[in-house]
């Protein structure tokens, strides 16, 4: 692996210089939880950092954002599109989240109607990835074909080597421009990435998984999994690849904004229509929808599995509903 070798403190100085004028979004520990927050520059992670509870998704697809502003004047309405982006660097992103961003990119760019607000914000974002040296208890990236040292959507990738030493490599035009400004020797470095903590009980190869699941659309296993789902949106909001959104207007007396916000297919009124008809009325259909979307529907549309094995849904679901359990129950095994 060809990288530039650099000491930690030099690396931070170099990054800070290159990212001048941009907003820095970095993993930060708040209370006991890691999340991506705005800070004034890159940081060196303490050893207990593996990945953030809340990943960087919200900095590309915010929890809520205006998409347009409107104003009524005498029966006429004027509309101004929102300009909700600032140049930014998102730093310290793990490969599972980098892969997720690559997936979001392909979804938002998909024809016939690319989603321009996301794409604009994305175009003004530099992603600095960080290869994994330690796995958290619920990681299962390799089961999903994601590798803990791969760059995916990253512009630059950092590989922690021995002690204070890091290897840096570039994977895009911007990345190469930045890397050219780094003093350091090019070298061949050996990097041994973390081994994910979990290995999923895969019933079939990843290629055959969509078909395997589609054949189990009516399997009673869905009910055995979903009866304990409480219909919150936790899994979807923490998931780095969940992108479903809703749109509504915030009116302030004749003027206001149209706002887009994260929605979740696990919430009860996600697909309920105005007349009351709901194609997914119970937790069974909704949990199935979420898992099928990731592992069957999306692969059928765009050829890729929409799960990167970050493990957040496993770690945080308050009722213990997760992908390994789904695969096990649908495989006819277990309770």
């Amino acid at each position: 692996m060809a990288v530039k070798l650099v000491r930690g403190s030099d690396m931070l100085r170099w990054l800070r210089r290159c990212g001048e004028g941009r907003r820095w979004v970095v993993p930060a520990k708040e209370d006991r939880h890691w999340l991506f927050a705005e800070r004034d520059g890159p940081v060196v992670f303490p050893p207990d950092y593996r990945n953030a509870t809340v990943g960087p998704k919200g900095w590309l697809l915010p929890r809520s954002e205006p998409i347009l502003y409107y104003r009524w004047t005498g029966g006429r309405v004027s509309v101004t599109p929102a300009q909700g982006w600032r140049p930014q660097v998102i730093y310290g992103v793990r490969p599972c989240d980098l892969k997720a961003i690559a997936l979001l990119d392909s979804i938002m760019a998909s024809e016939p109607w690319p989603e321009t607000q996301y794409l604009t914000r994305r175009a003004h974002t530099v992603l600095v990835g960080m290869a994994c040296t330690a796995a958290s208890s619920c990681c299962f990236c390799t089961s999903m074909g994601v590798h803990p040292a791969e760059s995916y959507a990253a512009d630059l990738m950092i590989y922690p080597l021995q002690g204070e030493e890091y290897g840096v490599a570039a994977f895009s035009e911007v990345g190469r421009e930045w890397l050219a400004q780094l003093e350091g020797e090019e070298a061949d470095a050996a990097f041994s990435p973390a081994v994910p903590a979990l290995s999923l009980p895969m019933p079939t190869s990843l290629e055959d998984l969509p078909g395997w699941l589609e054949r189990r659309f009516d399997d009673p296993g869905w009910q055995r999994l979903a009866w304990r789902c409480l219909s919150c949106g936790l899994c979807a909001y923490l998931c780095p690849t969940c992108y479903c959104y809703g749109i509504s207007d915030v009116d302030r007396g004749g003027a206001g904004r149209r706002v887009r916000w994260w929605d979740a297919c696990t919430l009860p009124d996600f697909s309920r229509m105005a007349g009351g008809h709901d194609p997914r009325p119970t937790t069974t259909e909704r949990v199935r929808q979420r898992i099928m979307h990731k592992l069957a529907y999306h692969p059928a549309r765009q050829g890729e599995i929409l799960c990167t094995g970050c493990g957040r849904c496993i770690e945080y679901c308050p009722m213990g509903i997760h992908l390994p359990a789904a695969l096990r129950l649908l495989g006819g095994d277990g309770r």
């Binding site: 029966g75 938002m108 959104y245 206001g256 149209r258 929605d263 697909s271 105005a274 999306h298 059928a300």
Partner: protein, 263 residues
């Protein structure tokens, strides 16, 4: 803009919208557009006027929720937001030269009305057209001017109407659309059937068409699910791996059979 009630109860109204010249767009029958009442929200409504009459767009809206209620309360001359056209629409090129069987229930005639008028305007390009339309009561039949007067007068167009429940003045057939259709027993020979209506009606119409010998690829239906973005991104109008907003709303029965029954 003009607002016109369709039904006596006023639960369906047709909006006629004049677009500024520079904002006009071309579309296919069966396509939809997102209508906005700024301050209330947006909803996806099929375009019920034909592309052959581009000066004005018509949308027939049933009052079911917040946004549709706001659309109903608009006054003539007021302004709405329109974005579109969305969806695939009916394959009008493939249908050329074929006989058409249009089966609709209630407000379900709206998307098909676009197609019917398109065919009326290009009568010579298509085969005979039979329209089978039903509603709960005679009062609930939409587009009365067309179904009673203009369409029956067009060469090679037949209109068959039915209602679930008649009234004093109704002399026509009484019965549900699917059974009425089976009684009419149209021949599937060289004909494509197109259907839209409430989910339960569609289900039984599809069965009836099958009984009449229609092949899966000869049957097209247009579906409706909750939509917010219209551009295949917000993730709620999927049936299996297909999004109604970009891959639909028109699906052939053949496609439908490959999709999970979650609509």
């Amino acid at each position: 803009m003009e607002v016109r009630p369709e039904t006596a109860s006023g639960d369906i109204k047709t909006l006629r919208v004049r677009l500024p010249e520079e904002d006009r767009f071309s579309f296919r029958p069966g396509q939809c557009a997102m209508l906005s009442v700024f301050g209330v929200g947006e909803c996806m409504i099929s375009i019920s006027s034909p592309p052959t009459r581009p000066e004005e767009l018509e949308f027939s809206v049933k009052r079911v929720g917040r946004v549709t209620a706001a659309l109903h309360e608009l006054e003539p001359g007021e302004c709405i937001g329109i974005r579109g056209p969305y969806g695939n629409g009916f394959p009008v090129e493939e249908l050329r030269g074929k006989g058409l069987l249009v089966v609709a229930g209630g407000i379900g005639l709206a998307p098909l009305r676009s197609l019917v008028n398109y065919v009326v305007d290009r009568r010579e390009e298509y085969g005979p057209m039979r329209i089978v339309y039903g509603a709960r009561t005679p009062q609930d039949l939409c587009f009365k001017e067309e179904i009673f007067r203009s369409w029956p007068g067009v060469p090679q167009v037949e209109v068959h109407l039915t209602v679930d429940q008649g009234d004093e003045e109704w002399t026509g057939p009484v019965g549900l659309v699917p059974s009425f259709l089976e009684e009419l027993a149209p021949s599937p020979e060289g004909v494509v059937a197109l259907t839209c209506g409430p989910p339960i009606m569609i289900k039984f119409v599809l069965e009836a068409l099958q009984n009449l010998g229609f092949d899966d690829h000869q049957v097209l239906t247009t579906l409706e699910l909750k939509m917010q973005c219209g551009i295949g991104k917000c993730g709620r109008c999927n049936i299996g791996s297909r999004y109604v907003c970009v891959d639909g709303p028109v699906f052939s029965l053949k496609e439908l059979r490959q999709m999970p029954a979650e609509y």
